[in-house]
């Protein structure tokens, strides 16, 4: 289903500074959309988790930030893509505490809980695409 995209911006995810920049953009856009402070914080945190995954596990990639307006509701969608090694077992990767990178293993599962909609596509050897949306 096509969703009217009010505005969109592509950001590289190649360094820690890029992750900080993505957090700032997401914050600014959710403020513009009129999100509550808690909802702003949730989606900024989710963005931070996935951006870090893209950087650390995907070897870097790109984030697409989109401001959506569908019927009466408005939201923010984030699409993170990388051409990294991919995730072999997505169900396992979504489980809290599962980690291959020495982290806490909360990134994917946590980001899913903080989003209204969450999807993940991955092919071993080709890369990963994570899409998360938070509606106002």
């Amino acid at each position: 289903m096509a969703m009217p995209v009010v505005k969109a911006e592509r950001c590289p995810v190649r360094s820690g500074d890029n992750v900080v920049r993505i957090r700032q953009i997401v914050r600014q856009w959710t403020v513009e959309l009129g999100f509550s402070l808690v909802d702003q914080t949730k989606i900024v945190t989710a963005a931070s988790e996935i951006a870090r995954n893209t950087l650390d596990h995907g070897g870097g990639g790109e984030a697409l930030v989109e401001s959506l307006s569908e019927g009466g509701r408005r939201g923010l969608r984030l699409v993170f893509t990388d051409k990294g090694p991919g995730i072999e077992n997505i169900d396992q990767a979504l489980k809290d505490g599962f980690t291959t990178g020495g982290g806490l293993g909360l990134g994917l599962g946590g980001a899913r809980r903080l989003s209204s909609e969450f999807s993940i596509e991955s092919r071993t050897g080709e890369g990963t695409c994570v899409t998360l949306t938070r509606w106002k």
Partner: protein, 128 residues
């Protein structure tokens, strides 16, 4: 190089995190703080995060690491000033900061540290 300042406040160390932390800055803070704990023979560290609008699992892990490292160096850590929206998000993220003591503000955090020092008799030991 950019650094997070560590202030000596009486018998304690105070770290006020005001910037959006990237990984390198967080790691530098861990190094600097452990060095300061040993150098100043401090038994208490306050980390003020009231200016932080986001605490993700990376920052959460760093706070946990700092608390563990401090504990091994005989210093207690109290994280103070967490914003309510950050607390709500952290719990939903699945991070409850185990092993990290918290207080509502710096003042309450200092009370907590003083209390724990007295309880373990660390205060008397260090002055004696």
């Amino acid at each position: 190089m950019e650094r997070i300042p560590i202030l000596k406040m009486g018998e304690f160390l105070l770290v006020t995190i005001q910037v959006d932390m990237h990984d390198r800055l967080a790691l530098t803070l861990q190094d600097d703080l452990t060095e300061m704990i040993v150098k100043n023979r401090t038994h208490g560290v306050l980390i003020d995060i009231s200016a932080l609008e986001v605490v993700d699992s990376f920052i959460g892990r760093m706070l946990g690491n700092i608390a563990s490292m401090s504990r091994v160096l005989d210093a207690a850590t109290v994280v103070v000033g967490m914003q309510p929206a950050v607390a709500i998000t952290l719990v939903e993220l699945g991070l409850s900061l185990p092993g990290v003591r918290t207080a509502l503000n710096v003042e309450k955090g200092m009370e907590l540290l003083r209390g724990s020092l007295t309880a373990t008799n660390g205060h008397a030991r260090r002055q004696g």
